[in-house]
């Protein structure tokens, strides 16, 4: 799972409340080379919640600036860093609020609830 995808996910346990975002991240960051796609990353940056991304990067010990650089759209070095922000192969997402864990196995996160949680 890309750390960028983490930015788009929230806890869905019934009654978890408003503090269901962002989820915390648990696991080891694996760096994977991928072709830099400028269109995508610029597009993605407009959707990303940066504090959540920063927190996730802290959780898995990746070095990102604590706040979004002002010139981020022209800052290719920064954009490439975000683009390459790595993957989690094994680990989990967990909700700080209700402590629910969503496991990540073989790079795929499982966001399914149990039947008693719906």
């Amino acid at each position: 799972m890309r750390i960028l995808s983490h930015n788009m996910l929230q806890c869905i346990v019934k009654g978890c409340g408003a503090a269901n975002y962002p989820l915390r991240l648990n696991g080891e960051a694996v760096h994977k080379e991928s072709e830099y796609n400028e269109d995508f990353i610029k597009h993605m940056m407009s959707k990303i919640d940066y504090p959540a991304l920063y927190q996730a990067s802290q959780d898995v010990k990746i070095d990102l600036p604590s706040s979004l650089p002002e010139d981020y759209l022209d800052n290719e070095e920064f954009l490439k860093k975000i683009h390459d922000v790595t993957h989690i192969e094994e680990g989990g997402l967990y909700c700080n609020n209700c402590k629910r864990i969503y496991p990540i196995k073989n790079g795929i996160v499982n966001m399914l609830l149990n039947e008693n949680e719906v």
Partner: protein, 686 residues
């Protein structure tokens, strides 16, 4: 629609006023004489009367009018019209040698959008000798005209271009200067593939929108009819005359479309071959010369629809085309690598499933470009590394990606991704893709190298793959912000693939209550239980996902299974989404599916749109046989209708396809398993 542009054009061909000045010379056939214009200058709200007389030096029996009109230096109209049929309503050909007098009145409305109109009109006679050339320049608006000739009062009606009202509407209803983009449109011929007729126009429109010229694309409208010399669009025909501002746009569409085969420059149209030949002579001859002659190499091609034209007949057409005017005589035929391919389209049409004997229409086109139809083969499911039981056909997946406006810099998502068929084609066109599915076995496939991701590797589009997420569409885990540009989906409706969502079965609830079990889900080997996911709920959740997570302008493209009882009112709606297109694909006698394209056109406002009742959404009627409870409907009537049959396995009617049988079996199987079925989803250790 009656517009005076033509009246002006006609008038200008014979009458010169001080509105008009001559751009011709002394060799012109018509010598323009006395002109009286009143009032001079024209006054808004009062008609202008133009009286004039001219001397024809020789007889004019037929000919062509070329007219260009521009507004504030921008081209507005470029017309080529046959002289005689344009003027025959009030003055049949020929115009004999001698003096002809004319009187013309042009009403000027009081509300005129200002703009400097410049018109240049040239008329050529049967020998291609110039009759006259005039240019007119005036701040004027062109409206209906009444024309008097030799005191006969006739209304000049020509259905071309736009009415004054429409023009005002196009310019935002204001009387100010029109916006400066009024592009000149050129005629082209869109040659569609014969399959999936209902999907052609939606794809063409989607691509035109993606490349930013939808408002300037015309087909089947007045402008496009003008292109095809005011002929009606023919039903079912794969030949569609269109008009748009530039060849670049045609090439852009051609780079993406799979329902199209090729684009052509449209040279001429005719209901008979003779008429086609006559109309070729109305095409600007210098242009034709430049393309056909001058030692360029070319070949002819005859493309017929409705029946195959015998080779001998094809040769006759080619022969007659070559002889009609000198254009092709100086060129060289090269069948292998011609610089130009001239195609004669012969539309026989289809009547009651039998071809008609005489063609309905002929067209002549010059090929510009082909479309990437080979993609259909490239993405052929049979050649794919990893597929599932319901992987979508490549042609339809490509069309869906086009209708979803998949392109670089966008995010496409499939909430029922399965083996990722729909995502592959979106990724091919440049979108970054995400998918989710309740069944993670679909993603993982047969392991490394035989899973969803390996398909992306196979096509070299791995860098477009973001992630797949195991998730239940009824409890979507995506953050409630608009971040998706395109949602593509072939949702499971319980006919071919069972639709499941997470939930506790009634039986389990009773057993747990009886045994006092409260923590079954905490066991390490616990398997999540799934229950049936009703079609109306699938649709409700899908539309809700689109309304909340799509960006404004983003699209939802999905398949809706229906029966032959389908009504437009069956379509699920959402106040934030509007329907862009709705095309039917027949599957069997009774069963259809429809590709629905919706666009999110307004922001989702939680205080307004949360907690809407199904009635307020539009209608998602549980009891509706069209899609409300398809499985029950299926079990009740079978695939071809009729009374319910008692014996299982004997529902198959005559003339059904193999695919259908497979579907039926699946449906039956599901009918039996009902609630007893073991949960399908893999367990999650906790």
């Amino acid at each position: 629609m009656k517009v005076a542009i033509l009246a002006l054009i006609f008038a200008s061909a014979f009458v010169a006023a001080d509105l008009w000045s001559s751009c011709g010379d002394s060799s012109d056939v018509l010598k323009i004489g006395k002109i009286i214009v009143s009032p001079n200058p024209p006054v808004a709200g009062k008609p202008i009367t133009v009286e004039g007389a001219g001397l024809f030096r020789s007889d004019v029996t037929s000919g062509t009018i070329y007219a260009e009109v521009s507004v504030d230096d921008l081209p507005l109209i470029n017309l080529t019209l046959p002289l005689c049929s344009t003027v025959k309503k009030f003055r049949p050909c020929p115009f004999l040698k001698g003096q002809q007098s004319l009187k013309l009145a042009v009403p000027i409305p009081s509300a005129v959008p200002s703009g400097e109109y410049v018109a240049k009109v040239q008329v050529f006679d049967q020998n291609n000798a110039r009759v006259t050339c005039v240019t007119g320049k005036k701040r004027i608006f062109l409206v209906e005209a009444e024309v008097w000739i030799n005191d006969e009062h006739l209304i000049f009606e020509v259905s071309v271009l736009m009415s004054a009202k429409e023009k005002l509407k196009m310019w935002g209803g204001s009387e100010e200067l029109p916006p400066r983009e009024i592009p000149l449109k050129r005629p082209y011929m869109a040659r569609f593939r014969s399959q999936h007729a209902e999907f052609r126009i939606p794809e063409l429109r989607s691509l035109a929108q993606m490349f930013g010229f939808l408002e300037h694309l015309d087909y089947g409208t007045e402008q496009a009819k003008l292109v095809s010399q005011r002929r009606e669009e023919l039903p079912t025909s794969p030949y569609l005359p269109i008009a748009c501002p530039s060849q670049k746009q045609i090439e852009q569409v051609a780079s993406r479309s799979v329902s199209l085969m090729s684009f052509f420059d449209l040279i001429a149209v005719g209901d008979t071959f003779e008429e086609l030949l006559e109309n070729i002579s109305h095409y600007p001859q210098d242009k034709l010369q430049a393309l056909a002659g001058n030692g360029r190499t070319f070949k002819y091609h005859v493309d017929s629809y409705g029946r195959k034209m015998p080779h001998a007949e094809q040769l006759v057409l080619m022969e007659r085309l070559t002889n009609i005017n000198g254009a092709w005589e100086s060129g060289n035929i090269d069948l292998k690598n011609p610089q130009e391919t001239w195609t004669i389209f012969v539309d026989y049409g289809v009547a009651k499933n039998r071809p008609m004997d005489d063609p309905r229409r002929y067209y002549l086109g010059r090929k510009i470009c082909n479309t990437p139809v080979d993609l259909i083969e490239v993405y052929n499911v049979k050649k794919r590394n990893y597929i599932g039981t319901t992987s979508m056909d490549s042609e339809l997946s490509l069309m869906m990606a086009n209708q979803a406006l998949a392109r670089s810099g966008t995010i496409a998502m499939d909430p029922f991704a399965g083996t990722g068929s729909l995502l592959l084609t979106c990724a091919h066109f440049g979108s970054m893709v995400m998918g989710s599915d309740i069944d993670q076995r679909m993603f993982r496939g047969w392991g490394e190298g035989k899973d969803l991701k390996s398909n992306f590797k196979q096509y070299g589009i791995e860098n477009k793959y973001i992630d797949v997420i195991v998730a239940d569409n009824s409890h979507t885990p995506y953050r409630t912000v608009p971040f998706i540009d395109a949602l593509v989906a072939d949702p499971p409706y319980g006919i071919r693939a069972g639709a499941r969502k997470i939930g506790k079965k009634r039986k389990t609830i009773l057993r747990e209550q009886k045994l006092g079990i409260t923590n079954a889900h905490r066991r390490s080997n616990h398997i999540i239980q799934c229950i049936n996911y009703a079609v109306s709920d699938v649709l409700h959740d899908l539309l809700n996902l689109a309304a909340t997570r799509l960006v404004v302008g983003g699209r939802l493209v999905y398949w809706l299974p229906t029966t032959d009882q389908y009504k437009d009112s069956d379509l699920p709606l959402h106040p934030c989404l509007r329907i862009i297109s709705n095309s039917e694909q027949p599957l069997t006698m009774r069963w259809r599916r429809r590709l629905i394209t919706m666009e999110k056109f307004t922001e989702y406002i939680p205080s307004v749109h949360d907690n809407l009742s199904p009635e307020e959404y539009g209608q998602i009627n549980l009891s509706d046989d069209s899609h409300g409870n398809l499985k029950n409907y299926w079990l009740r009537i079978g695939s071809n209708g009729g009374p319910p049959k008692e014996k299982k396995g004997k529902r198959k009617g005559k003339g059904e396809t193999e695919g259908e049988t497979a579907e039926e079996e699946t449906a039956e199987g599901e009918g039996e398993e009902d609630e007893e079925e073991v949960a399908e989803v893999e367990g999650v250790e906790q």
